[in-house]
Symmetry: D2
Subunit: 344 residues, 4 copies
């Protein structure tokens, strides 16, 4: 049993984290904090907690958090890099669900996030928390940078192809579609119901912050060979879910069994399922779960298309953070993450 604190529990990611940790058998939820909502009961902000024993937001501070073993940050970008050092110094471990520790190069961070990185020494130590790539390092980590939602869906879909060296990594394309909860719970006109529903569009065609993160991941897989990636995100009129459609050119035309390749790569992974070629993973199949479902298809001699779905708030955020926690504390990796998606 460990004591856990959450900093920033009022966004969709934080709410999801509380929901999942609430039923985790090895976790005591010792503190949930929010600067703006200190003193308010969780159920005021999240009506689905009305039937649960009350949790109340506290002011985030070392005092409140220091009794914890582990602290999750579900804060806006730029918060965790300021508060993490004192927590680490006090002997706690930290999982950051924001972007503060994802990009290893501080200059790149500054370019995409618009300010200098406040904590470059811990940045060097931080482990990128994609278990399917970094399980061993995560186990030892004091500080885990939980991956972004798009990077999780895209990286898992490309890993087997790049590891085996069978595709042209100069011309990868990720056409990715996300539900609207990825934009957060803050009031913004662009994500009003009346703006989003009954419409579909691309966004950030000029460049999205997850592009350097995905590229970093793919270059890690390619053992530092340069990777050329085109990444176009789109907004889907639904609340949860990411669907990545990934395009890669096969380097030869021999009819390798790509599905078998994917199955081999992921056969020990508790949260990755590979469907037969010709299958169409649906985002609803993973709603509320930590699963990633893949299918890989050779649609012509050279053209490979991978379909990859996750729930952006679970495998793309809170669920993966708990998976990392389970690894860090030697709990069974699936503990607290066994639910089946609601349908419909």
């Amino acid at each position: 049993m460990i004591k856990v604190g959450i900093v920033g529990g009022t966004g969709y990611t934080g709410i999801e984290l509380i929901r999942l940790l609430h039923s985790h058998p090895e976790v005591e939820l010792a503190a949930i904090t929010s600067r703006s909502e200190a003193g308010r009961p969780l159920a005021d902000l999240v009506p689905s907690f009305v039937s649960v024993a009350p949790l109340v937001f506290e002011e985030p501070s070392l005092h409140v958090l220091q009794g914890c073993d582990l602290v999750f940050f579900a804060t806006p970008n730029g918060t965790a890099m300021r508060m993490t050092p004192e927590l680490i110094d006090a002997g706690l471990r930290v999982i950051d669900l924001a972007a503060d520790f994802r990009l290893q190069d501080p200059a790149l961070w500054e370019k995409w996030y618009g300010e200098a990185h406040a904590c470059t020494d811990l940045l060097a130590e931080a482990v990128y928390g994609l278990p399917e790539l970094n399980r061993a390092s995560i186990k030892q980590a004091r500080l885990v940078a939980n991956p972004g939602c798009y990077p999780t869906a895209v990286t898992l879909g490309f890993i087997p192809l790049i590891e085996q060296g069978i595709v042209d990594i100069n011309h990868l394309i990720a056409d990715v579609k996300s539900g609207v909860s990825g934009a957060g719970r803050a009031a913004q006109q662009a994500v009003l119901h009346a703006e989003v529903s009954e419409s579909f569009k691309a966004y950030a065609i000029g460049g999205h912050r997850h592009l350097p993160e995905i590229t970093q991941n793919l270059q890690f897989v390619s053992k530092s060979q340069p990777v050329g990636l085109t990444f176009v995100p789109h907004l889907v009129p639904m609340n949860r879910g990411i669907h990545a459609t990934l395009y890669a050119q096969s380097l030869d035309e021999n009819a390798q069994d790509l599905t078998e390749l994917f199955m081999q790569r992921y056969k020990k992974e508790p949260f990755v399922s590979v469907l037969p070629a010709g299958s169409h993973p649906e985002t609803r199949a993973v709603r509320g779960t930590n699963q990633c479902i893949l299918s890989v298809n050779r649609v012509s001699k050279r053209q490979i298309v991978v379909l990859s779905v996750i729930d952006n708030l679970v495998k793309g955020a809170a669920g993966q953070a708990i998976q990392n926690m389970n690894i860090m504390y030697d709990f069974p990796e699936e503990m607290g993450l066994g639910s089946i998606g609601l349908l419909p």
Copy 2:
């Protein structure tokens, strides 16, 4: 640990039942059956089961089911009343999620369901499975008639008012709104996405099958005084959830604390929450859960408005069935039903 069978597991109610029973610690799911889908794996029909150990549909028969302690029917109306006798004779217990055993009067059943009742002796024995009214009888029952979704939401909202005799029971109104999963998973033009989304309408203004069931419930509560109820169902462009807006005239104008009355009535009920007056229960707060959330409001001297929300597939169907099972087998009533609603 009991062995459980499900007849008719391919509709939304049956799927929800499988999802919930799958994680129930005292249940072994011994058989799922479907005449039309015999031989097919569940995950083919319900993609959210792709990551779960495979379940395969079998042909429904006494042979397949007789090893079970309990059988749930999640079939169309008219099926359970034909198969139940042989199961009861073989010593099994039965919970029917369809309407076959809900109306005590066979003539009324025939009027609303269009055929003679096939099993009137068991109809007389069947217990109406609303735990908040009938817990003691459910415990002993061999055959439980699981309530309809509308009747659950409406009855729970009216019980305290009628029990206390403080409203005019000749002029009750239930204006009720339901998500589309209540119409089932069969292909029908009227519930296509392109027909339902971005629209709202009433239906069955001429009379809905749940009207006699609700009336029967309210007359049970009123100790057989006749009840006059107007019931208008509406279709909401969403998948899950029922919201009942209930109108009753107070018999006196004294400012009785109605919220306190509701809280007293339901304080021992694990699945009924009462919010302060002025609150607005939301259907999403109960999505995927077995909760009913109520608020009661005196909006003018005489006029009382009760707001009541449930998930039509859980407290309105599969969850309530499991609650009944827990009562029948002396399991803790909340076992397997503790999840918190997804938000968003």
Copy 3:
């Protein structure tokens, strides 16, 4: 041909007004103004105008507007009552789509809108712009108070019953459901897609600003006999449309043909359709149109249920404003308002 100005064209009501006036054959759209968006092209804010000759927002001022014959206010409450006097003095006519001139009693206005009324003399002169009640007065009016969306749907549904004196006007109930565009285009957490979709709730159970407006209308119809109305609004996860479900007690049980009564009352109205009893008007049938569709049903001896649908942005706002304009300038009443609803 008249010259028309719009003050406050950036909300959903203003956008709809521009869309409809753009194709009106007797209107020249001389000025669209917005304090916050002055200088920006309309198509930047409303992508559907991209293919149309450019319109650019100007700063609202007498200078910009004084060349107009008529000015529409599509502003937040409290703006029109401050700007209208100088426009009227300058000889223009005004239609206010906000609430500033709807309540005849300034004290009532202050109670519900939270500030003293700034322009009580014009308030006394203003004509309430529901053509089905006030056509003759509208024709002569210098200042029209365009009705609210809920009041339009509810009043049209009750008029024939109250005019004929056949229902108990002490206990009227309006259970009304609205799409989310009624809440406007300003960024608010409560109307984010991820908050609204897949959920349903009542709101303002403690009292909604449209209650006194509806009551004023119904008392006008009842020739000042007091009316007792319970009004409960609900939020539907869709963009456009209002569905009112209206309950009234018949004063006698004789089987009067209510549908015939409604048809007689509205037979000359170009924008009110009455369906046969047992029909279910759908909000999508009026999407983008100025129609109100009604059905009236005697569901038991005494209980009458009226179903009434409108598009909240058209008959409930911009379309009705144009209908009023057509009346004021002796244009054919249907001019510019003849479109058929999109399906789906």
Copy 4:
């Protein structure tokens, strides 16, 4: 003024055609036919026609249709090719909105549509009705094959790039997303609201019937050089709209102004708008309209991304058919097609 008949007016495409033709000033809608609904009023099937003078479906036959100048087929594939010869022989002109005359090669038609083509001589004569490619031929045509929805969105997005010979036409990718009305109005489980909403998926990854049609178009543009196209369609939880995201490799890295190129190509086209680079066309901007909105972006030295949106039922079906009619009869090309999209 011409007399027009519609065969098959009960699907979404047929309904849209009736809606648009109803307000076309040069069209008399002489007959709407439906084998299954003969004798029923249109408003029974399409509630938005309730306020319109009644239209009644007739049995389709030469007798009913022969008084027309022009007949539209909005029927399932395989119907028009059987009925068209007698209409052409009787001197009528025909526009087929189904696929019967789209593929010039009968063998290809048979492969993708599963039966031999019934009318190969007229197939040779039929003109593919994409005005932006074939305006001159359309003007003279007796028989027009109206393009599919996906082919319209994709072809318009690729034309300028292929005409100018500046991209590698061996490796084109079209990742396309469609609203659910593209699947038609027939009852199918896969397009129920409860299956579609809150989910996103690809489909037909193994090959879609629109692939050969798009390839034929692009090879027409490339003057018969072979084109390699990967086409992946997806289902969006909305009713109307197609968004195509198109990927092409530039043959050189020189910074040609692609937006200028697109603007030049389409400057005379009344229904194609080109936005500045970096813009994100939204499907709602074209809802209910005949517009195609494009933006073209060079996202890296070699990679070009085109975004293209249409309404699948208008520019992708009924609207384009009317555009073709306008061309065939020398009406102004925009006649009856001038509406602005509803927002929201």
